[in-house]
């Protein structure tokens, strides 16, 4: 009897070991499979699409040199098209960026609008989308496993994330870490040096906390960090006078300042303690899908630069400006390189507006957040928001 138990225990342990060692190659296995699928697709798609494509393009635009072979859709893009909707990893609890709208019960916000733009680009329908709220801990694995087609969740673009999570398609919001103090109590504080021996409220476990000590060490100034678990607790403590200053991303400081008892008393110092370029990312392994996401973002920014918005987009179709004509697909066949429809940008702008409209609707001066565009203004207007041209 005892022997039997021992033997069966041994067998079970062996089984567990086998079961545990088996998954190790598994994550890489799908990628290998994906690659072969890509090759297959190119073989199948190219002849049929190539046979079809020249017919409509040649009579329409007499430009034989500018007839790029239609793009070979990758595995993910093909899967998205056959699924009929884009799965968007989004934020569900960040003011202005992603939350549930009380009227419609749907997700809304700055990041959510990028997902909508993507759905319109592919399907012409802002509802062809499934939202997966992901938190800070989940977003990496969700991208890695390919659970989501795109991650649009105020995520900072870093080299390690590009290497392991997926590919960032660009920056849709330039943020940076800032510092806020009570201007009434400390009217002379202007720089971090002035905050010598001050106590600073900060949320624990964030890059913010690490940046804080980095910057103060760099300045050679001592300070007392007062750490809290959540953003709510951090700002409640600051309001209650537990610390002299509070630090987080500038966008967060602006949003939170509007909630303090006397917002005008508090000033955000003119120091940027870290670069936090936030942007959407897509899973590794499908260049065609990466391109679609990337150029959807660039289309939004270009549209603002060229003065195309959701109200005038129909008039703009007759614009003489060649840049506008190319952007809206009136001339040229840039869309074939992306595997999208000819009027995809028109539909996107009609549905969600250009970058500036998205910003103003969710974060701008007419919202309770009243966030200044700051460096997120277009490069032509004093900011650093810049997109490659449609050519």
């Amino acid at each position: 009897m005892k022997k039997l138990v021992l033997v069966s225990m041994f067998v079970l342990v062996a089984l567990i070991v086998v079961a545990c060692s088996a998954p190790a190659p598994a994550p890489s296995a799908p990628q290998v499979v994906k690659e072969t699928v890509v090759v297959k697709e190119t073989v199948i798609v190219q002849p049929t699409a190539a046979a079809k494509a020249p017919e409509p393009t040649k009579p329409a635009v007499a430009a034989p040199t500018a007839a790029p072979a239609p793009v070979a859709l990758g595995a993910r893009f093909t899967a998205i098209k056959s699924r009929g909707k884009v799965i968007c990893g989004s934020n569900d609890q960040v003011p202005g960026f992603g939350f549930l709208d009380k009227a419609t019960g749907q997700f809304t916000g700055f990041d959510v609008d990028f997902c909508k733009a993507l759905a319109v680009a592919v399907f012409g329908d802002a509802k062809a989308i499934e939202f997966r709220p992901v938190n800070a801990a989940q977003r990496g694995p969700a991208l890695q496993t390919g659970e989501i087609d795109v991650l649009a969740r105020n995520t900072t673009w870093t080299v390690s994330r590009d290497a392991t999570w997926g590919l960032f398609v660009g920056v849709n919001f330039y943020d940076g870490q800032g510092m806020m103090v009570d201007g009434k109590k400390y009217p002379t504080v202007k720089t971090l040096k002035d905050l010598k021996d001050a106590s600073v409220c900060v949320q624990t476990g964030t890059t913010t906390e690490l940046n804080l000590s980095d910057r103060f060490r760099e300045e050679g100034v001592t300070f007392k960090p007062v750490v809290f678990d959540t953003a709510d607790a951090t700002f409640a403590a600051y309001q209650g006078g537990r610390c002299d200053a509070v630090t987080t991303d500038i966008s967060g400081l602006v949003a939170r300042r509007s909630l303090l008892n006397v917002p005008a008393d508090h000033k955000i110092l003119d120091v940027v303690m870290s670069k936090e370029p936030l942007g959407p990312a897509v899973p590794l392994g499908d260049a065609s899908w990466y391109n679609v996401a990337k150029w959807t973002l660039f289309a939004l920014i270009n549209a603002e630069e060229l003065g195309v918005d959701s109200k005038n987009v129909d008039q703009m179709l007759t614009s003489k400006n060649p840049d506008v004509q190319r952007l809206l697909g009136v001339t040229g066949d840039l869309h074939t390189g992306l595997g999208l429809s000819k009027d995809w940008v028109v539909k996107v702008i009609k549905a969600v507006g250009n970058y500036g409209e998205i910003y103003d609707r969710n974060l701008g001066p007419n919202t309770p957040l009243k966030m200044d565009r700051g460096i997120n203004k277009l490069w032509s207007k004093g900011g650093i928001m810049y997109a490659p041209p449609f050519r």
């Binding site: 709208d101 019960g105 749907q106």
Partner: protein, 395 residues
């Protein structure tokens, strides 16, 4: 007769309200002091609480009520949720008609609260469903009153209603009347309920089987049951949910995508089953061995002994721990908020991110806590009455 008028009553300070006060609050001097301090404490803490409750911005709750109840379920399809609720009300009414005083109390309070909410929403609209629920409860009650023999059928109807509910909520693909609503749109209290009901309904039989398996004389079965129970009890529920949401997709091929809500339901069920098994095992041990021996002596087979002699006695004993397990399970479903499902708590957090309601944590969390308290208290009350009705600890 005449003497009664002359009888002198006890002193006024030792009977009635005054007497009670003196006896309980002021009798030796230090009790009087304590009473005064307590009154002051209650006043200073309670006063502030009442003041807050009166000045709180409750519109964050009222204007988001639908979100709290059903999450992002399409607004034009909410009638499906109401239909399900009305169906449940009808069955609850029927159970109330059959059951004893407790069931009646619960069902009547349910009807009263529907009536109250109906009256409250008279001005705002949407009261039709509330009153429909009151009617459904009444109809069910009248239908089954005094017909205790229908008990089995009502129980069966509950089980059918559970599957019907899932069907009504999910719908049919490309159907005009009942369009498909993906589980990603299920949320709020609806999701909390579905998760806990699925957890409770499926973990119970699973737990009983595991408990019997652990006591089995067959080594592989008992070893498997023991291993399962110990491993699952050795990891926190959050871990199980994280494995279900993040690890499982890593191991499965890309085409095999299990629904996320389904994965959470499976995680919760498998987790609760292990605890259920240990509770049931405790009950099995409490059944005296004489019962089994007597049954065997009468010629009953092992299966019959287990089903008709051991289990009924064992389960009766473990009602209190099982109910506290269910209450715990109901509250634990909020952990799915961590893995990105929009249950009641997660909806609350998302509502807090609405720019017009920033910073109203107190209102939202007090409301969520209140909702949880009400349902947990009802469960606890029902189980207490059930124990009394079954005579646990007396027989």
């Amino acid at each position: 007769m005449t003497t009664t008028a002359e009888t002198i009553g006890p002193p006024r300070t030792s009977v009635g309200a005054l007497g009670w006060l003196k006896r309980n609050l002021f009798s030796p001097w230090y009790n009087a002091l304590l009473s005064l301090i307590s009154v002051w404490l209650i006043y200073s803490v309670g006063g502030q609480t009442v003041q807050w409750a009166l000045t709180a911005r409750w519109e964050v709750i009222t204007s988001n009520l639908r979100l709290f109840m059903v999450g992002s379920f399409p607004p034009d399809q909410v009638w499906r949720v109401w239909l399900v609720v009305t169906l449940a009300s009808l069955l609850a009414g029927m159970s109330g008609g059959i059951g004893g005083r407790t069931a009646r109390n619960i069902v009547f309070s349910l009807a009263a609260s529907f009536g109250l909410f109906g009256v409250l929403s008279l001005a705002g609209g949407g009261y039709e469903w509330h009153f429909a629920n009151v009617l459904a409860i009444g109809a069910g009650y009248l239908l089954t009153r005094g017909r205790a023999q229908w008990g089995r059928w009502v129980a069966l109807a509950w089980l059918l209603a559970f599957f019907l509910t899932l069907f009504i909520l999910y719908g049919i693909e490309k159907n005009e009347w009942l369009p498909l609503i993906g589980t990603d749109r299920w949320g709020g209290l609806l999701l909390t309920f579905l998760l806990s009901i699925v957890g409770i309904v499926f973990s119970f039989p699973l737990g009983v089987l595991l408990a019997l398996g652990r006591r089995s004389r067959m080594p592989m079965i008992s070893l498997f049951s023991t291993l399962y129970i110990e491993i699952v009890r050795g990891v926190p529920l959050v871990t199980v949910l994280f494995i279900a949401q993040i690890m499982v997709p890593l191991f499965l091929p890309e085409e095999m995508r299990l629904d996320r809500i389904m994965r959470a339901m499976a995680g919760v069920t498998l987790f609760a089953a292990a605890y259920m098994a240990e509770n049931v095992r405790g009950g099995l041990q409490a059944v005296p061995s004489g019962q089994v021996e007597a049954a065997h002596a009468l010629g009953l087979s092992d299966t019959l002994v287990t089903v008709f002699i051991v289990l009924p006695q064992a389960l009766r004993v473990v009602i209190p721990p099982i109910v506290s397990l269910f209450i715990g399970l109901f509250k634990d479903t909020t952990l799915v908020a961590i893995v990105g499902l929009l249950d009641l708590l997660a909806v609350g957090k998302s509502v807090l991110a609405q720019p017009e309601f920033l910073g109203l944590q107190k209102e939202v969390y007090v409301f969520v806590a209140g909702v949880f308290f009400i349902f947990c208290y009802v469960m606890s009350y029902a189980s207490y009455r059930l124990e009394i009705a079954l005579g646990v600890g007396k027989r």
